[in-house]
């Protein structure tokens, strides 16, 4: 592949060095931004599809597979003046994550403009 650099370590002149496996492993393996209808990606990386399970409930399937289901997920909402709302992972496997958004006060699911990133080791 053109422009390929093969290196095990990156070294800064004063700040020290870092093994490139930390750089690779520290990259998000998948990320997605679901639209306000919670039924399609505005933009994404590393997913093959999103399944709209109902209001505020969507399962995203990875193009790749994670080594196990212990990877890390960070999720957030983009809502003006939003309070008492959440977006969290309800279930996961090595190839899917089910994300649920809604009102924390009433525990009811609601469609919100939400996004998430997934980090961990790939299979």
């Amino acid at each position: 592949m053109a422009g390929k650099i093969v290196a095990d370590t990156l070294e800064h002149s004063t700040a020290g060095s870092i093994a490139t496996n930390y750089v690779v492993n520290g990259s998000a393996k998948a990320w997605g931004h679901l639209n306000a209808g919670h039924d399609a990606f505005e933009d994404s990386f590393g997913f093959s599809s999103v399944t709209d399970n109902g209001t505020g409930d969507a399962t995203s399937t990875f193009s790749n597979a994670f080594s196990n289901d212990d990877y890390a997920i960070a999720a957030g909402l983009k809502e003006n003046s939003a309070t008492n709302r959440s977006c969290h992972c309800n279930a996961s496997s090595t190839t899917t994550i089910q994300m649920v958004s809604g009102l924390t006060a009433s525990s009811s699911k609601q469609d919100y403009d939400s996004s998430y990133i997934v980090m961990g080791d790939l299979a």
Binding site: D39, G54, A123
Partner: protein
């Protein structure tokens, strides 16, 4: 654009190449399915970047690779994947048409018990449709079901 020779290249690197070099393809196809009578219909929407990979060819592994990994994960003593190399070492799929890509995606992302028996009941439990055939608003979303009067003859027409 010509796809590089990717067999043996990690799938993550291929997806990075695709994100950098291919424009996303927003499909109008939707797959509506019911995997439980107690739940509303689910709607699978293809990811635009993934669809671009499918149409381009030479990037995605064959779907049986995912089935093999799913079998491994279903084992009671599963801890982590040990056959991830199948994703990266297996010869990638050639370019698909959009319709072929949807068929592949169904077999990858829809539960097998749904697509293998989609027409073995009083009504089809899975339908491929166009986006505009879905309700235009999400009102009563949790009550959406595949129509009772739809049948395989309608679908074939």
């Amino acid at each position: 654009m010509q796809t590089p020779e990717f067999q043996g290249t990690h799938l993550f690197d291929r997806l990075c190449w695709a994100k950098e070099n291919l424009d996303g393809v927003q499909s109008d196809y939707r797959v509506v399915y019911e995997d439980s009578i107690d739940e509303c219909a689910k709607i699978l929407v293809p990811d635009p970047n993934w669809m671009a990979c499918a149409l381009q060819g030479g990037i995605l592994p064959p779907v049986w690779v995912y089935w093999e990994l799913a079998k491994d994960e279903a084992q009671p003593d599963f801890k982590k994947h040990t056959r991830g190399y199948l994703l990266h070492q297996t010869e990638p799929m050639p370019a698909m048409t959009e319709e072929e890509a949807i068929e592949y995606l169904i077999q990858k992302d829809v539960p097998q018990h749904v697509w293998k028996t989609w027409n073995e009941g009083n009504k089809p439990k899975m339908v491929i449709c166009r986006k505009e055939q879905l309700p235009s608003t999400r009102e009563w979303r949790n009550a959406w079901k595949i129509a009772e009067d739809i049948n395989a003859t309608d679908l074939a027409a």
